[in-house]
C-alpha cells in the first residue's frame, strides 16, 4: 500500500518535471518594450520608486546582480529593478532573473519568461552568464522575503553562497543591489519554518517556510501562494560598487552582505515613516 511518503515523493517528482530548463530565447525585447510604460506607471505612481546608481553596473558583458529580497510572493523590488535596468541599458541588453521554481511553472505567471525569468538553478544561471547576459539573483529567496516586517532593514541571505561559486566559475563581477520598502507592503509576521518542515513542503516544493502575514485582500494570509495586493510602500533601490571574486567563498559572501547591509542602512536612514517613505 502506498504510504504518505510515496505520495509526497510522487508530487515532488511532478513539480520537478514541470520546472523548465532555461530557454534564453523566450526573453522577448519587443514584449518588454510594450510593457515598460505600464510598469513605469505602477513604479512611479503607486510605489513612488527611486532607483539609483545604475551607472555602477558594467555597461556591457556578463554580470551577476545580487540583491536583498523583500515583499513576500509579490516582491516589488524585482519588477522595479527590472524596469530600471531595461530602461537604462535598453531591452536589447540580455537580462535574466532567477526565479523560484513555482514562479516559472505557475501558468498565470508564464509571461514572466518573456521578461527573462528563468528557474533558479546553477545550470540556468551559468547558461545565461556564459551567453554574456546580466543575471539578477536573490540568494535569500523565499527565506529572506518572508522575514518579519520588524526586520525589514536586515539583510539575511540565509548563508546561501551558491552565487559566489557561480561568479567565480564564470569569472564575472558581482554587483550588489540594495533595496528597502518591500517588506512594508504587508505586515509579515514570520516564516514558521517548523510548519514547512512538518508538512514536508521543504522537500517537495523547495519551500523552506510557511509564512503568515496580514495582507490585502485576505486579512490573515497563510503561505502567500496566491499572492496579495501590496500596500503602496515607497521602494528605493541603490546599486552598490562591483565586487571582484578574489577571496574564498565566505570572504566574498561576507563582503557582499556587508555591502548590501550598508546600502540598506543608508536608504533606511532616509526613511521617515513606514510605507510612506
Amino acid at each position: 500500500m502506498a504510504s504518505v511518503g510515496d505520495a509526497l515523493e510522487w508530487a515532488r517528482q511532478q513539480v520537478i518535471a514541470r520546472v523548465p530548463q532555461a530557454d534564453l530565447d523566450q526573453r522577448d525585447p519587443d514584449y518588454i518594450r510594450d510593457r515598460l510604460p505600464g510598469f513605469w506607471l505602477l513604479a512611479s505612481l503607486y510605489f513612488r520608486a527611486d532607483v539609483r546608481g545604475l551607472d555602477r553596473i558594467p555597461p556591457e558583458g556578463p554580470v551577476l546582480l545580487v540583491g536583498n529580497h523583500s515583499g513576500g510572493n509579490v516582491a516589488p523590488d524585482t519588477f522595479v529593478f527590472g524596469l530600471a535596468f531595461c530602461s537604462y541599458f535598453g531591452p536589447e541588453r540580455p537580462f535574466y532573473q532567477l526565479a523560484h521554481n513555482l514562479v516559472t511553472v505557475y501558468p498565470p505567471l508564464r509571461w514572466l519568461r518573456k521578461f527573462g525569468a528563468v528557474a533558479a538553478s546553477q545550470e540556468n544561471a551559468r547558461l545565461a552568464l556564459e551567453s554574456g547576459a546580466a543575471v539578477l539573483v536573490y540568494p535569500g529567496g523565499d527565506y529572506e522575503v518572508f522575514r518579519p516586517s520588524w526586520q525589514r532593514h536586515v539583510v539575511d541571505l540565509g548563508g546561501r553562497k551558491g552565487f559566489v561559486r557561480l561568479a567565480r566559475e564564470t569569472a564575472v563581477p558581482i554587483v550588489p543591489v540594495a533595496s528597502v520598502g518591500g517588506q512594508e507592503t504587508a505586515l509579515f509576521l514570520g516564516r514558521f519554518q517548523w510548519l514547512a518542515s512538518l508538512l514536508r513542503l521543504d522537500r517537495m516544493l523547495r519551500l523552506k517556510s510557511v509564512p503568515i502575514s496580514l495582507a490585502l485582500p485576505w486579512g490573515l494570509n497563510i503561505s502567500d501562494l496566491l499572492g496579495h495586493i501590496p500596500l503602496p510602500a515607497k521602494i528605493v533601490i541603490e546599486v552598490q560598487e562591483p565586487i571582484e571574486v578574489d577571496g574564498d567563498d565566505q570572504a566574498v559572501y561576507d563582503k557582499v552582505v556587508a555591502s548590501l547591509q550598508a546600502g540598506v542602512d543608508r536608504l533606511a536612514a532616509e526613511r521617515r515613516f513606514p510605507v510612506i517613505g
Partner: protein, 144 residues
C-alpha cells in the same frame, strides 16, 4: 505627446549657440541627467550621437540620440536611435538686441497601447519640469 517650454535670455543667438553646441555643457545644463555619454568623437555636428538618460518619475528614461538638424544659431534637433521614441529641439530666435527666445521642445511616444498613452500623459508633468529647469540653467549660465 509634445511638451514645449520657452524663455527669453539676455544674450544674442550666437552666444546661446556656443553653449548649446558644446556637448560638455549638457551634464550641467540638463537636470536629473542620469547618463550622458559621447558616442562619436569631435564637436557636436550633424550625425553626432550621444547616450542620454533623464530621470523621469522613478527611473532613467532615454537612449541613444542622433543630431539630425544643425542650423547654426537657429536650430538643433535630434531623434532617438534606441530607447524611448522621441524628437527634441532647441530653437533660437532673436528677440531684440542681445536677446534670444529659446524654445526647448520634446515630442515622444510610448509603446504599450492604452497604458502607453496614459504613461505619456502622466510623464508630461515631469518632462515639462525638466525642460523648464534646463532653460533656467541655461539662462543662469548665460546671464551670470
Amino acid at each position: 505627446m509634445r511638451v514645449e517650454r520657452g524663455c527669453i535670455v539676455n544674450a544674442d543667438p550666437d552666444t546661446v549657440w556656443k553653449v548649446l553646441s558644446d556637448p560638455d555643457r549638457y551634464p550641467s545644463l540638463l537636470p536629473h541627467l542620469e547618463r550622458w555619454e559621447t558616442l562619436t568623437e569631435g564637436p557636436l555636428e550633424l550625425g553626432s550621437r550621444y547616450t542620454v538618460l533623464w530621470k523621469i518619475g522613478s527611473i532613467p528614461v532615454g537612449g541613444v540620440v542622433e543630431v539630425v538638424e544643425f542650423d547654426t544659431a537657429r536650430d538643433l534637433a535630434w531623434i532617438n536611435i534606441s530607447g524611448v521614441t522621441h524628437r527634441g529641439r532647441f530653437r533660437l530666435r532673436a528677440a531684440g538686441p542681445s536677446r534670444t527666445l529659446v524654445t526647448f521642445r520634446l515630442a515622444y511616444h510610448s509603446d504599450g497601447g492604452l497604458l502607453g498613452l496614459i504613461a505619456a500623459r502622466v510623464a508630461a508633468r515631469w518632462v515639462g519640469r525638466s525642460l523648464e529647469e534646463s532653460l533656467e540653467n541655461l539662462r543662469r549660465l548665460l546671464e551670470s
